[in-house]
Symmetry: C2
């Protein structure tokens, strides 16, 4: 399990994934996490947003519909192609590594990563680059699985985990692995990358009050 394998696996799943998102097959997204990330971005009142790991583009479209100028980037060309066809923003094929190496010479009021920081070194390097991608007072917003809740049976420590399509009914290939980080590690990654924690949110299932995700908002210092 490594950073490169993540991209390979998502390439193989780009078509069923696009359908699953567009047909509303992911319960936690409908219940809480889609609205939560949109709300977190809009709360910053940004003029320009970079959607990193935009996938088929739903979030970019939702933000563009609010009058925001959005650039969506993803390492998987098929997903970017799907996003372009649906419109609503600029879309480019850029990996986390390419962003970390400075492929983009632009700054944004918000960089948002919605369940798209899945790797180890690629994510560390992307975060380290964040101050160069943000305007003064700009913010990074990351939504990720809620670390203590996602699988409480596993040891609570950073490390690679097997992926799963659990809870999504669609015709997938093998899922991508992902690098698990504790809440402690997420906060450290932000602080070490020059981002001050402005808020941390825990979107919940509206009836069971089980946390469905973690959203970190970090301001460029």
């Amino acid at each position: 399990m490594n950073d490169a394998e993540i991209i390979e696996r998502w390439r193989a799943n780009s078509e069923p994934w696009t359908r699953a998102v567009r047909e509303g097959r992911i319960g936690s997204r409908l219940l809480a996490t889609d609205a939560a990330v949109v709300e977190a971005v809009l709360a910053r009142k940004p003029a320009r947003v970079l959607d990193i790991g935009c996938g088929e583009g739903w979030l970019a479209r939702a933000l563009a519909a609010q009058g925001i100028e959005v650039l969506g980037v993803d390492a998987v060309a098929d997903l970017v192609e799907q996003a372009r066809r649906a419109g609503g923003g600029r879309f480019e094929v850029f990996s986390h590594e390419a962003l970390a190496e400075g492929v983009l010479d632009e700054r944004f009021d918000v960089c948002v990563c919605n369940f798209s920081l899945l790797g180890e070194a690629s994510v560390d390097r992307l975060l380290a680059k964040m101050p160069d991608l943000l305007t003064a007072g700009g913010a990074l917003i990351v939504q990720t699985l809620h670390p203590p809740t996602v699988d409480a049976a596993q040891p609570y420590r950073d490390g690679w985990r097997e992926g799963s399509w659990c809870g999504i009914d669609a015709d997938f290939q093998a899922p991508a692995p992902w690098y698990f980080r504790t809440v402690e590690s997420w906060v450290r990654l932000f602080v070490d990358s020059g981002l001050r924690i402005e808020s941390l949110r825990e979107p919940m299932h509206p009836r069971t009050f089980v946390p469905l995700s973690l959203i970190l908002v970090g301001e460029r210092t």
Copy 2:
């Protein structure tokens, strides 16, 4: 269940609690949380520390043994009396409310609350006062039960909960209630009180990797 009842219940339990701490009967403390809070305080290299809710005084003594000048305060007079007898620092009977009202005209490099922020309004008011109790660059360090892990069967939202002596073998009276806060709420409380999150730690059971507590370190901004 309210802030005042917390103090009443701890008054009734001051003697068995003192024995339980001094006889090392609280497994999670021995395994991880005692060392974690001491380490978090020492990492700030403070000259002067305020131990808020010091209880029978073990933490004040541990810090004083490192050459730090410590003032321990607690709302329960019997616990302060136990702390004075054991020595190792100054000890005073001050409630969170008294601190919030400005009873102390001193500043500290670290204010530490080790499992001692148990109330609702009393805690909100104490935190709001924190900038007046800290030196420039000073920090508040709070250790509390790990919110998502402490009782995953309960709805994950702020509110009063019944206390429990679970895991501590001693001759206690009825336990104190406490006001549960999510991680999101803890972070908001710090940020709203003018404290920048410097780190968030999740001390773990050294073998099972279950998080045993949450430590928040907030710097005065």
